[in-house]
Symmetry: C2
Subunit: 210 residues, 2 copies
């Protein structure tokens, strides 16, 4: 009975293994979705056997929650660089848009899983906590971007964080669907759109800030 409780050997090895399992689970989870991804299928697309899951996780639910939380916790830090390094509003907007497009192509599976989990949270109580938590992370992420953008422009965000997040999330979700079904031009449209929309999200900048 080594599982979750009393552990003698390197306790880090345990967490490391959990992460490895969760990461390889992401492959199947992001391809089949929350409902259709069985533990056997997840195990088949990995180096593990289907039984090992219950050695590292209580049940399927815990694996999935761990997986999406782990992924998203790094996801929400993706724009920290551009926020910190940009010196003009336009540079920030362009960097933001570029990274949006980049993650849309590179991490499409993860984003699909996230939207799946959030939607399922409306039907399954046990998912609500993690969904609400991550939604909060993402809202904060957007707020960091827009408020810094406003600061660089000598202005203020024109809308509260929740509204900014909802709007950008709606645009991103449509783009994700577009990428998933293979629609052409989605990426360039999203990039242009974000660049065009950012100025509308702050109050009119003061002409001479100094």
């Amino acid at each position: 009975m080594p599982g979750p409780a009393g552990r003698k050997p390197p306790a880090d090895k345990y967490d490391e293994r959990r992460r490895a399992l969760a990461e390889s689970a992401l492959l199947t989870l992001g391809e089949l979705g929350y409902a259709k991804a069985s533990l056997r299928e997840i195990a088949n697309n990995s180096e593990f056997s289907h039984g090992v899951v219950h050695y590292y996780f209580e049940d399927k639910h815990e694996l999935i929650v761990y997986c999406v939380r782990e992924q998203k916790s790094v996801c929400v830090r993706r724009y920290d660089g551009v926020v910190a390094d940009s010196t003009t509003p336009d540079e920030l907007a362009a960097g933001f848009a570029d990274k949006l497009v980049e993650t849309l192509t590179n991490d499409a599976a993860m984003h699909r899983l996230w939207y799946d989990v959030r939607t399922q949270s409306m039907f399954e109580d046990r998912l609500r906590e993690v969904a609400a938590e991550i939604d909060g992370w993402l809202e904060d992420m957007i707020w960091r971007i827009v408020s810094r953008y406003a600061e660089l422009a000598g202005a203020e965000p024109a809308m509260p964080p929740s509204v900014l997040y909802a709007i950008l999330d709606g645009l991103f979700q449509q783009a994700l669907i577009g990428v998933t079904v293979g629609r052409e031009g989605v990426l360039d449209e999203l990039r242009a759109l974000v660049n065009a929309l950012m100025p509308t999200m702050i109050t009119a900048p003061v002409a001479a800030p100094a």
Copy 2:
């Protein structure tokens, strides 16, 4: 073999029954979601037995697609009245916002099902057609509202239909989640938000149209 093909008696009776079955299926579908709603559970929450589904529908997939398409085809006509009757921009915006709030409380289950189906369409090919179709309906619906709003204001929509739809859809989806988890004040916030946001969706109105 009376099913889908050759029918002698009132062919309308057949369609009528399909609609009745689909409508009672909505109850369970909107409560449990696409994946977790089994045919037996759907039948239990209705006046039908679990086997009758295959008399009126090819399979589970066809039932669900029929159900969501039927529901949404009336859903997208919800704002036709306010669009036709409003004589000022503000009246249109207020009527739109009111009806948004109204459907959010009355038809929450249907909206949950729709978002579920659209999300699942990213994982399941067979859902993509109906999801894309309905997304188109909704985009047209939003376009009718905003373009009429702009017309009443003597202006033009400031963004293309797809962008307007994505933005409003993002806001609505967040509000739906809020309603589902029982967050307070969501409805009033959405109403105020829509009223405040509508002016930003059109170009600056011409002062004296005549």
